[in-house]
């Protein structure tokens, strides 16, 4: 005997999804097909367990997958910027595409979409934030920091600091110190 079947894919997808969401005690609202709004805070483990249980049905959480790649890019950037040997001298684009095994244009588009900034700007932001910490906490000179962070010259770092924050490194240092003085006076 042969049976001929007809599938309502939309219905199947929705029923599977509802069953799995209920099985994981997730309170939700379906906003559109393929779009679920979780109504309560969900832990990373809960989400992962849910993710695992729907994978077998060929259902994947897209937003989360994007966030995972973005996090990997960020981790790789931190490794590149803050590595103690500071000898990673290849270009950011080459380093990232080799590390994550994806084309740089794919990574860079995804990154901008999720974080609202570019990879280039993110790298600069991280370097400048680290410079601030070194200036204040470790009281390193800008020359020492430029060397530590692999800048070609102290002038380059100084210019990038000013371009990013709108103030010079020395003004930054002065302001933070004055703030501390005010606080200890009170």
């Amino acid at each position: 005997m042969k049976l001929f079947l007809k599938f309502d894919f939309t219905k199947i997808s929705n029923v599977v999804l509802q069953e799995k969401l209920n099985a994981h005690n997730l309170k939700y609202q379906q906003s559109a097909f393929g779009e679920i709004e979780l109504l309560e805070k969900v832990s990373a483990q809960q989400l992962e367990a849910f993710n695992d249980s729907i994978k077998n049905y060929g259902i994947y959480i897209i937003e989360d997958a994007k966030n995972i790649i973005v996090q990997k890019i960020k981790d790789a950037i931190m490794e590149m910027v803050f590595s103690e040997q500071n000898q990673i001298s290849v270009k950011t684009s080459v380093f990232l595409s080799e590390k994550l095994n994806q084309s740089y244009s794919y990574l860079s588009n995804l990154f901008s979409e999720v974080t609202f900034t570019s990879i280039e700007n993110y790298v600069i932001l991280q370097k400048i934030e680290y410079t601030k910490t070194l200036l204040i906490k470790d009281e390193l000179s800008l020359t020492e920091i430029a060397y530590k962070l692999n800048y070609s010259s102290v002038a380059h770092l100084s210019k990038q600091f000013k371009n990013t924050t709108g103030i010079t490194p020395s003004a930054f240092q002065r302001i933070i110190l004055k703030r501390k003085e005010i606080r200890t006076d009170q």
Partner: protein, 148 residues
């Protein structure tokens, strides 16, 4: 999970300015909620009474009648409840001394207000985006200084 929008408060006595700012916010890619106040007194009453979610980012006009942006800044900085609030001060003109003094008193951002809408949009976009980076990457807010 991270929340997906930024909560903005804005205090300005000029209705046109409020209109320009809110229009600029509407065009941003980062989703946002905006509450507006017509002077410093109205703002401070709101903040003091607030028990729920505080704004993430506050825009303060430096020159307002009754209570100036500077007075609001000092009151906010004196209250631990508002320690996570990022404050952006803006003014049409500014001396170096004013800018530095504002930062020393605890402002994070100083904006010299541009005189056309396109530039204003660009500046506000940069402020909100930078603030978003601090927020989503847990950067040290004590070191958040931005002058535009």
């Amino acid at each position: 999970m991270n929340k997906e929008y930024i909560n903005i408060a804005l205090a300005d006595d000029d209705e046109d300015d409020i209109l320009f700012f809110t229009e600029a916010f509407e065009e941003l890619r980062i989703k946002n909620k905006v509450s507006t106040f017509k002077d410093g007194i109205e703002l401070m009453i709101y903040l003091e009474k607030l028990e729920g979610e505080l704004p993430d980012l506050l825009f303060l006009d430096l020159n307002m009648p009754k209570k100036s942006g500077m007075e609001c800044l000092e009151e906010i900085k004196a209250n631990r409840k508002f320690k996570d609030l990022i404050i952006a001060i803006y003014s049409t003109s500014s001396s170096e001394e004013d800018v530095e003094n504002t930062f020393v008193l605890g402002a994070n951002i100083y904006i010299k207000k541009p005189n056309n809408f396109e530039k204003l949009k660009k500046v506000l976009s940069e402020v909100v985006t930078t603030n978003w980076q601090y927020h989503t990457n847990s950067l040290n807010k004590e070191n958040f200084l931005l002058r535009l």
